[in-house]
Symmetry: C2
Subunit: 425 residues, 2 copies
Amino acid sequence: MRILLVGAGGVGDAIAKIAARRDFYEQIIVSDYDEARAHRTVDWITEKHGPDVAARFDTAQIDASDPEVVARVAREHRATHVMNAVEPKFVPSIFAGALAAGADYLDMAMSLSEPHATDPYSETGVKLGDDQFAQAGDWETAGRLALVGMGVEPGLSDVFARYAADHLFSEIDELGTRDGANLVVTDDAGNEIFAPSFSIWTTIEECLNPPVIWEKDAGWFTTPPFSEPEVFHFPEGIGPVECVNVEHEEVLLMPRWVDAKRVTFKYGLGEEFINVLRVLHLLGLDSTTPVRVRSANGPVEVAPRDVVAAGLPDPATIGPRMTGKTCAGLWVTGTGTDGQPREVYLYHVSDNEWTMREYESQCVVWQTALNPVIALELLARGTWSGRGVLGPEAFDAEPFLELMRAPEAEGGYGQAWGLEDRLAS
Amino acid sequence: MRILLVGAGGVGDAIAKIAARRDFYEQIIVSDYDEARAHRTVDWITEKHGPDVAARFDTAQIDASDPEVVARVAREHRATHVMNAVEPKFVPSIFAGALAAGADYLDMAMSLSEPHATDPYSETGVKLGDDQFAQAGDWETAGRLALVGMGVEPGLSDVFARYAADHLFSEIDELGTRDGANLVVTDDAGNEIFAPSFSIWTTIEECLNPPVIWEKDAGWFTTPPFSEPEVFHFPEGIGPVECVNVEHEEVLLMPRWVDAKRVTFKYGLGEEFINVLRVLHLLGLDSTTPVRVRSANGPVEVAPRDVVAAGLPDPATIGPRMTGKTCAGLWVTGTGTDGQPREVYLYHVSDNEWTMREYESQCVVWQTALNPVIALELLARGTWSGRGVLGPEAFDAEPFLELMRAPEAEGGYGQAWGLEDRLAS
């Protein structure tokens, strides 16, 4: 297996660092528009693991927006797999470039949606991943695999869905991805500050898009932003966090392979963050349409959302000033294999202190990066195989979760995941 | 009496329109940096009241930031009184210009404060009006009067304080100005929109400055913004509104002339507006320090607060789309003249529908303008007189409130004010 990793930002960097402890691949080519970023990643690996490990890594410059460039770089490096680790707006070009180069493809976020033109808060328009699934035939014909949505959410959550269906439930009422954290960022004086652990620009986009829900009878439909608020209790000391519906890939993936009555995604933004987003929307500060504003050099035109982003700390820099844990998981309700009502929460927790110490990687970013590495290892072993455009739930979940949980000394990743039986307590 | 009115913005315009129905003065010179605005005001008066009334008005161009220009215009028009109706940042220049021209002076907001350098949320720095009171000796020596803070708040609220001390209480525990409204602004489709009835730029300044409180034992001190929230019940259908401490002139004026144990000012911003201000502060969007932001023409530098203001409707334009009432008043607790505990709310309500119909003036603006006109009439009659720098509470409140309340047919202003005995119900 020769992997072209596209993007050496936070997640790409962490993917390379995690893979550096494994040996299932022949070569990883770390590529970025700014090749210096790729070099930084490989330098870290060299320092941490020595030249023998580093010898399995190479770097390349790449323009992810151009499918022909992606295909050329993939061919030059004889890539068997293209791992997309950049912003979702580049999905179409990398997806096309990988197919053109005859490589398999993985990503962690799917092609973008467009709201319904006249009824955005009840009907779907173009859905997340629609553009990719529309090309499934080409991938099948070519005998190639595109494993889409293979991060943590989507990704691990989808693996949990398949696991619940195969091993825990005879009938599933709801597959509800629930994500929450207790992360706190402090300034130099130790005071808590408002500093989102991910791009506020992207978060506004994600949270103000109409959330999508799937129901067996109704199919896919949308709601207004922040709908159906609920307080979800997260494990390992995170505790209760207010969650709301958010547009996310799981809702588009799970119903294609797993039988359930309802599929939802709720994000534990917390009351404060939801409030911030609401106020930004109320005042039009979420807008990407430029407004005319006075400046020392006369009137200028700026997008309010860019001004909001400009005033906040760069999420890439806050890792060292952050404490707490983030939890990704799937809440499942229905009838257990014993015929009794069952409610479980399957989850994985990532602690920022640990990820910073082991990987110099912020925990939200690191947790995302872990899962595609495990998936690549299963594909390299042949444990997972397929063709066409497939989600994580199209594959047997047990070997994934087993490899994830097994101690490093026994060949695993040493990442415990949890199963909480919520009716049993 | 010959009045130089400085500023033909919202409040200046309304002062001229209210005065046009009275005849206590010889001439009012409506002046503005943009003389066309002054002409618009006089044109309205001509159309509404005819040429005889309009003959008592003149216009002038003025630069309010230059004391020499203010003095020259005042002398040219033989002004006996200079009425300041522009932003408080121009107080020092108009104040100095009036004294230089040998005229008396009135304003509706006092010279600006500066926070304490090291302990802004518990100690005062430069207080509102400090610069003006520092010059009181010059005014006394010259035998001239500066009647400061003579709008509605400060202004009418201070008149109420003197009235309560003279006629309602033997001992006052708290003089608490309380301001609230139920104003709603709608868009063309009739949907309620977020549109402050006053400049968001100024409101941010006012609300994020450390609020000042006066106590007999402690003197003046400050608190963090939005301190001591309370729900105050306003009369005439406005109902309960959440109020918080805000820096305001009453707290600096009342203790100088009226005996009380505590003096406060709370503004009924309402939960939504307080929340908006908090979020703007949390994200640094209240800042006036420019940040670097991308734009279509490359990076530019803009102040976040200017971007916030640029995205909201101009408060001067929302009168026709606004409904509701605004209430200004003073809540007083202590011991009544009968020796029994007493709690009263003295207030005046202004209804936007009425002020728009009668004066084409938005109710918040019109209510501010009413009070200096009454004060000028009392000064013209000689009912009120004084020298030095004095607040409204330095004068007998009864003739003010009587003139205000008396029907127009009987020579008054026909503006009822209320007294609610809150322990009697």
